[in-house]
Subunit: 552 residues, 2 copies
């Protein structure tokens, strides 16, 4: 395979570590910190995790540590969607493992969690790893979305580990995967299987975040890539002065990506799903909000702009969510009746005659192309595929109609022409920024330190991330500490709480304080492409979200 010049150059990059992890590896010892507990549901979670609840926080300090040189085999899993930096977690883990004992081995379970169940296992050697250092993607061992949840799976995982003499597994994943890591850790301890489990916080969505996790890896690089593109489009909009660009960005459950991109690029509009849900804004309320801004600019002769839309938006608009729920329910219960209709008109009439009055109204105002998407793009369980709904096009059509009305009323004198974009896959596998390269390498290195300390059910934690890497603080956090009980598929389950955009948090407040000006004026900022070389101010800064959160 041919290599790009950047790929060649990135192989040479040496990621930065927190100061304590730069010491000789046998001169670092774990220190027990405070005893932890979950913030809610303490009794329930304690009962479910007798062996891994209430453990101490862990940090590291200088000290003699001969034990670390013990030969050990470790397995690693990449779980779920790609995020830039996964390869560096594995690099850091590998380098620490081999520093401690060159005879220790690192195994990769291929294709995600199914790899450990099906024993799809490969040894990760120095040579093999060399071609993945500081690169994006999860292609080193592949990823997958199988969930490790059942006792049967746990037993198969145990067998695989025992077969390869693996005594620790590192699971690199999002909130669900780390929840499952905690359950697996607990199971192995209960079974006295002698297999430790350590989690690493991954997700470009940024919704795995709490007191112990300042940022999930990949969020920095992905949002920088989207912001590069949004900035380029802003510049184009401001040069051509004739298009409104509606840009949908990834983020189903939370709008961290949209918010971070807005902080980086200062668009005219950025919708935040959490705010729309909080305010119970209706679909026509959203359309009115956008239309008013477009009209205000248009009336000043500014017939262009940029609008950022979070992918999951429609699920946060109360009456659209109700419609989708009703559709799912209706088409599940009356699948047979519905399947008799072949003409679109008949299908639509069937829907209109069988949903509530509110949902009928919502469905009726949707553009026909979106009605079709709701009816036709269904997943194998018959559910509406929300991620396939072209929210960007939906809003363009509805805003366009609204502006026509406003034009007739005389409240809008501009011209409206729109382009739509969706950015998701474009950023999930970018070469990790220096921040993500360093952070991930540190997370992986640190994961080994937790393993070598005999811990299980911990999450690799690296904090103080808005400071230079040398001042980062490495340690471990019991995963149970981040849990609460939530209703999942009709059952109360212990899960890591998803971090939504906090409407009283500093990043949102900064946005809120500026958005009215960004709306009417042209305040675009152009971040440009991620830089890996050159001035530190250009190459090593992490997100605006983190900077604002950690602002003193």
């Amino acid at each position: 395979m041919d290599l790009s010049p950047l790929q060649r150059a990135r192989y040479e990059y040496q990621p930065k570590l927190p100061a304590i992890l730069r010491e000789a590896i046998d001169q670092v010892v774990p220190v027990k910190g405070e005893v932890t507990q979950s913030s809610t549901h303490q009794e329930q979670i304690k009962a479910l995790f007798p062996n891994t609840y209430g453990l101490n926080k862990i940090s590291f300090e200088k000290g003699n540590n001969e034990d670390i040189k013990k030969k050990i085999n470790v397995g690693v899993i990449l779980s779920g969607g790609q995020a830039p930096g996964g390869h560096n977690v594995i690099s850091g883990l590998f380098d620490a493992l081999k520093k401690a004992n060159p005879e220790s081995k690192l195994y990769g379970f291929k294709g995600g969690p199914s790899g450990i169940i099906e024993d799809n296992t490969m040894e990760i050697t120095a040579d093999y790893l060399a071609s993945f250092r500081n690169t994006g993607g999860f292609d080193i061992i592949g990823s997958g979305r199988t969930k490790l949840e059942t006792i049967e799976q746990f037993e198969l995982a145990k067998n695989t580990c025992q077969k390869h003499d693996i005594s620790a597994v590192v699971i690199i994943g999002g909130d669900d995967s780390n929840t499952n890591a905690a359950v697996l850790a607990e199971y192995f301890l209960q079974q006295k299987a002698n297999i430790q489990v350590i989690g690493c916080p991954k997700t470009i969505d940024g919704d795995l975040k709490n007191d112990a996790i300042e940022i999930s890896f990949g969020f920095d690089t992905a949002t920088k890539t989207y912001s590069e593109l949004i900035g380029n489009i802003e510049r184009d909009a401001n040069s051509a002065k004739k298009y409104w660009h509606f840009i949908k960005v990834m983020g189903r459950s939370a709008s961290h990506i949209a918010l971070e991109c807005a902080l980086e690029t200062q668009p005219n509009v950025c919708l935040i799903s959490e705010e729309i849900e909080e305010n119970k804004t209706s679909l026509s309320g959203v359309v009115d909000y956008i239309s008013t801004i477009i009209a205000n600019r248009g009336n000043k002769g500014l017939n262009f702009g940029v609008i950022i839309i979070p992918e999951g938006l429609v699920e946060f608009i109360p009456e659209v969510k109700a419609l989708i729920d009703e559709l799912n329910d209706l088409l599940a219960k009356k699948a047979e009746d519905y399947s008799k209709f072949t003409k679109t008109e008949d299908q639509i009439n069937f829907i209109l005659n069988n949903v509530s009055l509110e949902s009928k109204e919502v469905f009726s105002i949707l553009p026909s192309s979106i009605q079709m998407q709701l009816l036709m793009d269904r997943d194998p369980h018959g559910n509406v595929q929300v991620s396939r709904i072209e929210t960007d096009k939906l809003l363009i059509e509805m805003v366009s109609k609204k502006l026509e009305v406003m034009k007739k009323e005389g409240s809008y004198t501009g011209k409206f022409s729109a382009q739509n974009h969706f950015f998701g896959y474009e950023g999930r596998c970018a070469f990790p920024s220096n921040f993500d390269a360093d952070y991930c390498y540190s997370l992986g290195f640190n994961a080994f330190m937790l393993i070598a300390s005999g811990l299980s059910g911990y999450l690799s934690s690296v904090k103080n991330l808005s400071a230079p890497a040398s001042q980062w603080v490495a340690g471990g956090i019991p995963i149970t500490m981040m849990m609460n009980m939530e209703q999942r598929h009709g059952e109360q389950k212990p899960v890591i709480k998803k971090a939504l955009v906090e409407l009283d948090g500093k990043p949102f407040n900064y946005f809120k304080a500026h958005r009215d000006q960004w709306a009417i004026d042209t305040c675009f900022t152009f971040p440009g492409a991620i830089q890996y070389y050159g001035p530190e101010s250009v190459c090593d800064l992490t997100t605006r979200t983190l900077a604002l959160e950690q602002e003193k």
Copy 2:
């Protein structure tokens, strides 16, 4: 307005010039080279351009040049679609002008060619320019698509120039704009208006290219930006192993962008419009070609891949082009009859009953969403808006159907799931690569040298571009040299010939020699984001297309 860290840093960048332009500006003199002629239609073009035909090529050498210090006012126009580097053409022009005489002034005509007609004129000062150096976009003075073609427009332009004592105009544009620059230059000479006109070769499409122009500016940066994204998507495809990504890239008339991106990223499929036209490949031929590759990979268990599609593809497929022409004709002639139908079915039946048998067949096999696009998205003249046709989705739907058939026949055993993307606006206003920053600055600087040499109807030319900038060769080429006569709107017109992808050229041949392997194997290359700092091998290389063309 807030500035991004990269924007701040880019202000400090000092673009590189060819060696001769680094001399003291009064120590450089023009040298006449060979007399030129157009490659075809010599007599006709000579007759149309009595004052600007058959001029000499110009280069520069060391020599005493007191004349250059004369005070002079120059105007500049950005014409047509944005391309990275436009701001640097203006910077180079400004710096040379002020070096020669600090009292000389540079004026910008705002909003494209209409600015000179309507006297929408502003002085570009050092302070104002400072915030645009080495940045993308055309927002310094804006751009527009008005064509400078009529005597009336020329007279208005003359008045504007005389009002501001402007004696030279630099037009930064594509093939049409430079054609018009030549006509304007000729007109001003005929009128003895004492206004020189110099052109600069801009277009991300790469189709303004010939013996005198090795590359149009912006092509390098735009294709690098698209290639960054395509590489990221390839990495995602290879990590998740579950999607085929259909990626449409800009390029209506020529497939240079698609080809360059393919050379940079080695996708499984890249369609080249010129080849499809040459081979008279049918739509089902294109679908079969793609489906076969998907099936071959799927049968090996590789249910993922990346396909690059040039934006203008459908116009190069003979029977689709015929259908579009027929539709335009039919809906123009029978607009009234057609407008009576409100139901889609009736509209479609009307079309089917009124087009030729061949077009009826083509229309019938199109997915209904594309049929709708053909019927509904029409420009103000009633024409089908080809650029709005979602070719990526068209191919996904048709390939999907073909694969279902192959599955039933037993020749395909894989799974097919697809994502579509369109990259255009994402790259037109990126921060110019070092290559484009240097090249554009040199083009602008050089444009002033041509003005100072008293020339008109010339294109600013900088050659030997695959060598380091110090070895670049600056000079001027009479625009008439690049012309031929072509049928435009029913008339024979002198125009600069559009450069299509040459099917016997080195870049296409390289692609052709490798594409079968790229199709079946996974040979993805990941270029990553444009780098402005760091190793020269990463930051200063220009396109693969140019490297192959200039390969010894």
